[in-house]
């Protein structure tokens, strides 16, 4: 009976940082078709309000054979630990590098072709480790006016934490998969002008992924905002 290793999220829990889970050598690894480089062109959320332009940091090595450790306490510790300077305030530039332990990691300003940001494919395309990882993401939401009583609606694989303008907005706890509108923040205010979203996503042997949009008081997606990386 082949139960062992079977189907715990569908992966064998081999250790990071090897690129595992593939049967042939893929010489075509790249970010396409999942991501394209971000441009300076004006960009709104997509038709359903999902934010598609992000600064993503190559994954920090955070080995975990399984995701059962992702309790609220574990995640809080993981997401409030400092890995690199100015981690909670930086709005990095495309190509900027940081040092995390022995790793030298680069920020990439990207646009996702989908409603979601497939971090697994981000890592895979750059030939970085896909499992046992912690990703940081930053973006800027530009609002034409102050908007009150909005909620940040997030889905992620696996656990994640999100901040708006430096304040914690929502924690996605436990081991979970990315479902749109899975967790929402309390009612927040988007300032007129710039607003910074920051997120951290952690995973063991899973398909790292997230999606973010804002919902108004009626639960409708907010689309009259623009997204930029600077």
């Amino acid at each position: 009976m082949i139960l062992a290793g079977l189907g715990l999220q569908g992966y064998s829990a081999t250790s990071a940082p090897k690129i595992n889970g593939i049967a042939k050598i893929d010489t075509t690894q790249s970010l396409a078709p999942y991501f394209t480089p971000s441009t300076a062109k004006k960009k709104t959320p997509d038709a359903e309000g999902f934010i598609q332009r992000w600064l993503l940091l190559e994954p920090i090595n955070k080995p975990n054979r399984g995701n059962t450790v992702f309790t609220d306490s574990y995640l809080r510790t993981a997401f409030t630990t400092g890995y690199f300077p100015n981690q909670f305030t930086v709005v990095p530039k495309d190509g900027e590098k940081v040092k995390v332990g022995e790793q030298e990691l680069t920020w990439h300003a990207l646009e996702t072709a989908n409603f979601n940001v497939k971090l697994f494919r981000f890592a895979y395309g750059l030939r970085k480790q896909t499992y046992g990882v912690l990703f940081w993401a930053v973006t800027i939401v530009n609002s034409p006016r102050e908007m009150k009583n909005v909620r940040m609606a997030v889905g992620s694989n696996s656990g994640s934490m999100w901040w708006l303008n430096g304040k914690e907005a929502v924690l996605l706890s436990g081991d979970r998969r990315m479902v749109m509108d899975d967790c929402t923040s309390a009612r927040l205010t988007l300032n007129k002008g710039q607003n910074i979203i920051r997120g951290a996503v952690i995973n063991g042997p899973g398909m790292s992924d997230f999606c973010v949009r804002f919902l108004d008081e009626k639960g409708e997606p907010i689309k009259d905002i623009t997204i930029s990386c600077k």
Partner: protein, 482 residues
């Protein structure tokens, strides 16, 4: 895998004595990733991961003995015409580091390994991935579309997408030129079904294979077309993680996964699954069968019937099944216009001891009357160990609470109560929850008759045994514990 069929009565008896309530299937129902339960020549079969599977003579007591070559995982079975199509995944999804899964299909004229016709055809690959694509083909689910006869296969796991391909129902092979369509994410163990103009995609979310900590649960989305999009009750695409809950943990059963549907008859549907951990059976993975209800176009698992003391209420008129005995009045008449300062005290209900000596000995008839929670209207319903069962439940005895006076079918196709339960087949009752949430109640046997009859209201106040008719409230009952 050949296991001796154990003495069924002993196992069932042990099960009831040790737990008090029989909730999941009995026998040795140990299986992982069971296929849709399929009938063949009067027996029920389900195949599981690794090979082999379970066989049942009645759908309640299951033991090993089913035979399926090819190893691999999570098979599905579908009867097409006079033969059976079996699909299975060659891999376990990420096992040995690879995501290059393969789905295979093969045929057999019978599922009974003792039959001379038992012979699997050569398995053919119908779907696969090279390990780098956004899909890992495991966990096949089959659907023969009743509207146009086309055959569809869904497969996949958490690695990437759930995909849908079309097969040829005559050969079980992939239709030439057919390309996979992405239909969901975040799940595995998918299955497809059709009901009343909608196609339904079932998927298992959550974590598998973690014993009592498995969060496995089954969700559903629906579409007007088999190719999707499958949306949940919030209008959310299963491609974005949507899904409406069908069944989750409960009653000491954890981690339901791998949905299959059995249509027993008009208005009677069951769903099958495994539970990752049955806390009453050493926390092992066991076969589960539950009633399948339909609420506003959405399937949802009903609960297993719980033993207890009940009013048996007619859906026709809402009167209660009761003994044909004299009504015994409680003391005290109308009470209002009393002194409001008088303290309020509880009044005891009428007890069995207050009335039982007014009842005749011997058989007593049954009628349906105003419910007053009186002793002659309260029925204690308990599973009968060793009496077997049917898909989803054991046979029950239905007795007046506090006595051994048992409901029984008569040779005239009426109902009566006998003074003491003897275990005779006409005193054994099958209880099925119908798709609308009410219940069908059927005797195991109508004496001297081969007919399958159910408890039916022939008048507001008169019960009888007659053919079950899902379209009539006469055929339906509710169990109320009040």
């Amino acid at each position: 895998m050949k296991l001796k069929i154990k003495i069924i009565g002993t196992i069932a008896l042990f099960s009831v004595l040790s737990t008090g309530t029989v909730v999941a299937q009995v026998g040795k129902p140990f299986i992982h990733d069971p296929s849709t339960i399929t009938e063949c020549d009067g027996k029920y079969y389900t195949f599981g991961t690794g090979g082999g599977g379970l066989i049942s003579e009645d759908g309640w007591t299951w033991n090993g003995g089913a035979v399926r070559p090819g190893g691999g995982a999570a098979p599905d079975v579908l009867k097409i015409g006079d033969r059976y199509l079996i699909a299975y995944g060659a891999t376990g999804g990420g096992l040995a580091g690879g995501h290059n899964g393969r789905i295979l299909t093969m045929w057999n004229k019978t599922l009974d390994p003792k039959s001379p016709d038992f012979k699997y055809s050569e398995a053919v690959i119908v779907a696969s991935s090279d390990g780098t694509e956004d899909c890992d083909p495991i966990d096949p689910g089959l659907l023969l579309d009743p509207t146009d006869g086309r055959l569809w296969l869904s497969y996949g796991t958490y690695f990437g997408f759930i995909q849908l391909v079309e097969l040829d129902p005559k050969t079980g092979k992939r239709v030439e030129g057919n390309k996979p369509k992405n239909i969901a994410i975040d799940c595995e163990a998918t299955d497809l079904m059709y009901q009343d103009g909608w196609y339904y995609l079932l998927g298992t979310h959550g974590t598998c294979c973690d014993g009592p900590n498995s969060t496995y649960n089954i969700v559903v989305g629906r579409s007007r077309k088999v190719t999707g999009p499958y949306l949940d009750n919030m209008g959310r695409d299963m491609l974005k993680g949507g899904g409406k809950m069908v069944v989750a943990a409960g009653e000491r059963l954890i981690g339901p996964g791998h949905f299959g549907r059995m249509i027993i008859g008009d208005g009677v549907q069951k769903m099958s699954c495994h539970y990752e951990a049955d806390l009453d059976q050493s926390g092992r993975s066991v076969l589960g069968i539950r009633p399948l209800l339909w609420k506003n176009g959405w399937p949802v698992a009903g609960d297993n019937f719980k033993e207890g003391t009940y009013e048996i209420e007619s859906e026709r008129r809402g009167y209660a099944l009761e003994l044909t005995v004299d009504f015994v009045r409680m003391p005290g008449g109308m009470r209002f216009n009393r002194n409001n300062n008088e303290p309020v005290k509880p009044v005891p209900s009428q007890e069995l001891a207050d009335v039982v000596n007014t009842w005749p000995a011997g058989n007593i008839g049954v009628r349906i009357g105003d419910y007053m929670f009186r002793p002659h209207q309260k029925w204690a319903i308990t599973a009968v160990p060793g009496a077997g069962g049917y898909p989803g439940g054991p046979y029950y005895k239905i007795v007046i609470a506090g006595t051994d006076r048992a409901l029984a079918a008569t040779a005239e196709a009426e109902v009566v109560t006998v003074p003491a339960f003897t275990g005779a087949p006409e005193q054994l009752w099958r209880i099925d929850q119908l798709t609308d949430g009410t219940y069908r109640i059927m005797p195991k046997v109508v004496p001297n008759s081969g007919e399958k009859l159910a408890l039916v209201s022939s008048g507001d106040s008169t019960p009888t045994l007659a053919k079950f008719d899902m379209k009539s409230d006469n055929s339906k009952w509710n169990f109320k514990a009040h």
